[in-house]
């Protein structure tokens, strides 16, 4: 009989369950994708030279797992609350707590099995799509990418079976602690209005002050000891956020409530609803705020790193590409490059002992180099190109060292087997050597990333790598070669950051969504009263959308300020951590807004139910 009821429930309540299903399928699919990637050793080792990436993926997977567990718990609680009256009725008709617990367990089990099957199929599709998408978006070649991985699949199944069982047990505990009356009258339980006492006012002010103080610490984090600054900023921020949401915002709401502003339309109603919400949401909003900041921060740092790569590459060398022993075709390709700032050609001889350059040629074609002032901070500025003649290359000044470094870089590319043996000799000595003189060309273009130039440079690079196998390890000298190497090096890391941030956000927003929706049934009565009193449908929708909007806006606003100040920490290790902020905020903000709209839409549907 219980099996029949459980199956019937899934059949008849599919509209309510659809929300849970969608969230579950997304979480299973992303979890599956992470498991597949984390367990795809061939991919990880082929795409990054850091072994720690496997650990990072596993940590990411664990974090994702934890969030999934919390998310499932909220989602499940939402459904149980929707149906507790029904459970109460079943108990009134003679079902005991064990029967109800078993019924709940069976429902969770059915849901689990169905969503696990669909979720892994969607996950495999998502993994395939993610691979394609990343290759296009990041311009990476992801070798050994797999859509299906048996270990990844098994990890997903085992993990979700555990999570579903734990949730089933939590539901059982909840039911075993409730009596018939509580379940039957759950929706009628009166809520108590939190009142702004003196203590709350003090706590609220302290909360806001702590939050501001955490931003000040973040602002000056580089002047304090990094570790101490981080601990201080984090503890001030967490406690500040919690107390601000707990009492500070209630304080602000109360002040607005007492003003004439609140007397118009449904403003007072919305403010009252919010005071209720904030009390019930203080913990979840604190967690959502921090994790939102983490998700946005992770994505911003990843994006900033990706976006700053061309700048770092440009800072790495004064020329774009070097072509050793250029062929006719390569010279033709060079002539097709656009926005060429300079093309310089040098002669060298590779003898048994060393690689020699004629000093005289640098008087005719001075060697470009960067002169950088000593600084501990990273900068996005591209240094000015200086040119060194024979005299400068032979002098003992710092510029000599910087110019010679360029010469060594070229020499290392030419003579990969025996680097650092590069000497400048006079014209006579150069001519004296019987070795055949070879040519190397260096080119600098204004924009190496334009489609045309990138295409030409890629062809030149491919040709060099084909002809000089020694270059495969170190890459072709110049900014273009640096960029190619850096992209390959950071590809896996960016991938994880991107998807982890998205997955976090999806689940955080869903958790908040479920928490908000849990109240919809209780609110239905309140909105019905408004309807009777004369609130138009649009006024009710506006009140509801404003109320939910403010709940959603709190983590968004505090989270964004957290990231704006928190990114200052990365100034120490990155050129410009803010480079990817706008695009990340746009992406995460858009997703968050979609969740908000979806929540209002579902809320309205529940409110309209009779």
């Amino acid at each position: 009989m219980l099996t029949k009821i459980a199956a019937q429930t899934i059949k008849t309540k599919w509209k309510d369950l659809l929300i849970l299903f969608a969230g579950l399928i997304i979480s299973i699919a992303i979890f599956y994708m992470f498991s597949t990637v984390a367990n795809n050793k061939a991919f990880l080792t082929a795409n990054t030279s850091i072994k720690a990436i496997v650990v990072i993926f596993i940590v990411g997977e664990i974090l994702l797992g934890l969030i999934t567990f919390i998310y499932l718990n909220f989602a499940n609680r939402f459904l149980v609350q929707l149906r507790q009256r029904e459970y109460g009725l079943l108990m009134m008709f003679g079902a005991n707590k064990a029967n109800i617990s078993r019924l709940l367990f069976m429902e969770t089990f059915f849901l689990g099995v169905i969503s696990l099957i669909i979720g892994t199929i969607v996950g495999a599709g998502l993994t395939g799509f993610a691979g394609q998408f990343l290759q296009q978006m990041l311009g990476l070649t992801l070798a050994h990418w797999q859509m299906f991985n048996i270990t990844g699949f098994l990890v997903t199944v085992v993990y979700f079976v555990i999570v579903f069982s734990l949730n089933g047990i939590i539901n059982q505990i909840y039911i075993s602690r409730s009596n018939i009356n509580t379940l039957l009258r759950a929706e009628q339980t009166a809520e108590k209005m939190p009142k702004p006492g003196f203590f709350n006012i003090i706590v609220g002010i302290i909360g806001i002050l702590l939050l501001i103080l955490s931003f000040i610490v973040m602002q000056h984090i580089l002047k304090i000891s990094i570790l101490l600054g981080l601990i201080l900023a984090l503890s001030l921020n967490v406690s500040g956020t919690f107390l601000t949401i707990r009492s500070g915002l209630a304080l602000v709401l109360n002040l607005i409530k007492q003003s004439k502003f609140s007397a118009v339309g449904l403003r007072n109603f919305t403010l009252g609803q919010l005071t209720f919400r904030l009390k019930a949401f203080e913990r979840i909003l604190t967690v959502v705020t921090l994790l939102f900041a983490l998700a946005l921060g992770a994505l911003t740092v990843g994006r900033s790193f990706q976006m700053s790569l061309p700048i770092i590459a440009q800072q790495s060398s004064p020329f774009t590409i070097s072509i050793i022993q250029p062929t006719v075709q390569e010279k033709q390709l060079i002539s097709q490059l656009k926005g060429v700032e300079f093309v310089k050609s040098y002669q060298y001889k590779l003898t048994n002992k060393a690689l020699i350059w004629s000093g005289k040629q640098f008087n005719q074609e001075p060697l470009p180099f960067y002169h950088v002032k000593n600084s501990t901070n990273f900068s996005t500025a591209i240094p000015k190109v200086h040119f060194a003649d024979e005299q400068m290359l032979q002098s003992k000044q710092q510029t000599n060292f910087e110019a010679n470094a360029i010469l060594s870089d070229l020499a290392n590319g030419i003579n990969t087997n025996n680097p650092n043996q590069s000497i400048i000799v006079n014209e006579q000595q150069f001519k004296k050597s019987t070795t055949v003189a070879q040519q190397i060309i260096i080119v600098r273009v204004k924009n190496m990333e334009s489609n045309h130039n990138a295409n030409m440079l890629a062809k030149l690079q491919a040709g060099q790598l084909k002809r000089f196998s020694g270059l495969k390890e170190r890459g072709v000298s110049g900014t273009f070669g640096f960029l190619t190497l850096a992209k390959g090096f950071s590809g896996g890391l960016e991938f994880m950051g991107f998807f982890l941030a998205i997955a976090f956000l999806v689940m955080l927003a869903s958790t908040l969504m479920f928490k908000v929706l849990t109240n919809a049934n209780v609110d239905r009565r309140r909105y019905n009263i408004l309807m009777m009193i004369g609130a138009t449908p649009i006024e009710r929708l506006r009140a509801n959308a404003t109320e939910i909007g403010i709940v959603f806006a709190i983590p968004l606003i505090i989270g964004i300020i957290d990231v704006v100040y928190g990114l200052k920490f990365f100034k120490n290790i990155m050129a410009d951590p803010y480079l990817g902020f706008q695009s990340s905020l746009l992406l995460i903000g858009s997703l968050y807004i979609v969740y908000y709209i979806l929540t209002v839409f579902i809320y309205q549907r529940i409110l309209k139910k009779h």
Binding site: M193, Q273, A535
Partner: protein
């Protein structure tokens, strides 16, 4: 005197397209004169709650018309209907239907806030009804701090604050003990007489109904009898209702 409510050939059918449609209301015709206090009585399932819902613009009828203050309410769209409710109607329900997140003063003020009345107008009106219903000391409290009787007085104050033409009551004393029920009915009587507001109330309680001037008895979705108080005292009318109910139930 003009009619505040004019119901013509009202029908309400549930599951109209099914094999077994259920006719909750059948061809009802009813007039309520301005300033009247009317009660609707009837056994469970007689259709009295459905009737009130249709009259109060909460549920659309299958056919027929409902004119309130000469306006056919079911010809209005959702927005016009909401505005109409907000201006002309007041509601008092058995479950009080107060908003827990708002203080007593804010609960009472809601209809005026919705009508975008001035702050001073709202404050004055709230104070006035609070004095009338002896709620002055409760204004800053929240619903969970009030007794059942006080909650229903707040509901009455909210129904009254915007000076509606008509107040609908759905078992307004249903959740109250006898002392509070008597008090509530005395207040409704006072509102009816002093404020000249018409009241239409559904009740199963003969005592509450005895405060009305006229009682319509519903059975199987039809009005089967009407009792008028005329010049009788409330106590005499109460006995008359009980006598009628005795024969009615037989």
């Amino acid at each position: 005197m003009k009619n505040i409510v004019n119901v013509k050939n009202l029908n309400l059918t549930y599951n109209a397209n099914s094999i077994k449609p259920y006719h909750a209301l059948k061809d009802i015709n009813l007039q309520v004169t301005e300033g009247d206090f009317v009660a609707i009585m009837g056994p469970s399932g007689s259709g009295k709650s459905s009737f009130l819902n249709v009259l109060a613009s909460l549920q659309a009828p299958s056919s027929g018309s409902v004119l309130i203050d000469e306006q056919n309410i079911w010809q209005l769209n959702a927005n016009q209907l909401a505005k109409f409710r907000g201006q002309k109607l007041g509601f008092i329900f058995q479950e009080y239907n107060l908003i827990e997140s708002l203080s007593v003063a804010d609960n009472i003020a809601l209809p005026l806030s919705l009508a975008k009345a001035k702050h001073t107008t709202i404050t004055d009106a709230v104070n006035q009804v609070a004095t009338l219903l002896h709620l002055k000391d409760q204004l800053k409290k929240f619903p969970n701090e009030l007794s059942g009787g006080q909650k229903q007085r707040v509901a009455a104050a909210r129904a009254l604050v915007h000076q509606p033409k008509l107040i609908f009551g759905d078992e307004p004393t249903g959740a109250l003990d006898s002392a509070n029920a008597r008090e509530m009915m005395n207040y409704l009587n006072k509102i009816n007489i002093e404020q000249h507001i018409s009241i239409l109330m559904v009740t199963h309680d003969a005592f509450s109904a005895s405060f009305a001037n006229k009682i319509h008895f519903l059975s199987d979705g039809q009005i089967v009898q009407t009792l008028e108080r005329s010049n009788q005292s409330r106590e005499t009318f109460y006995r008359a209702i009980l006598d009628f109910l005795g024969t009615f139930e037989e």
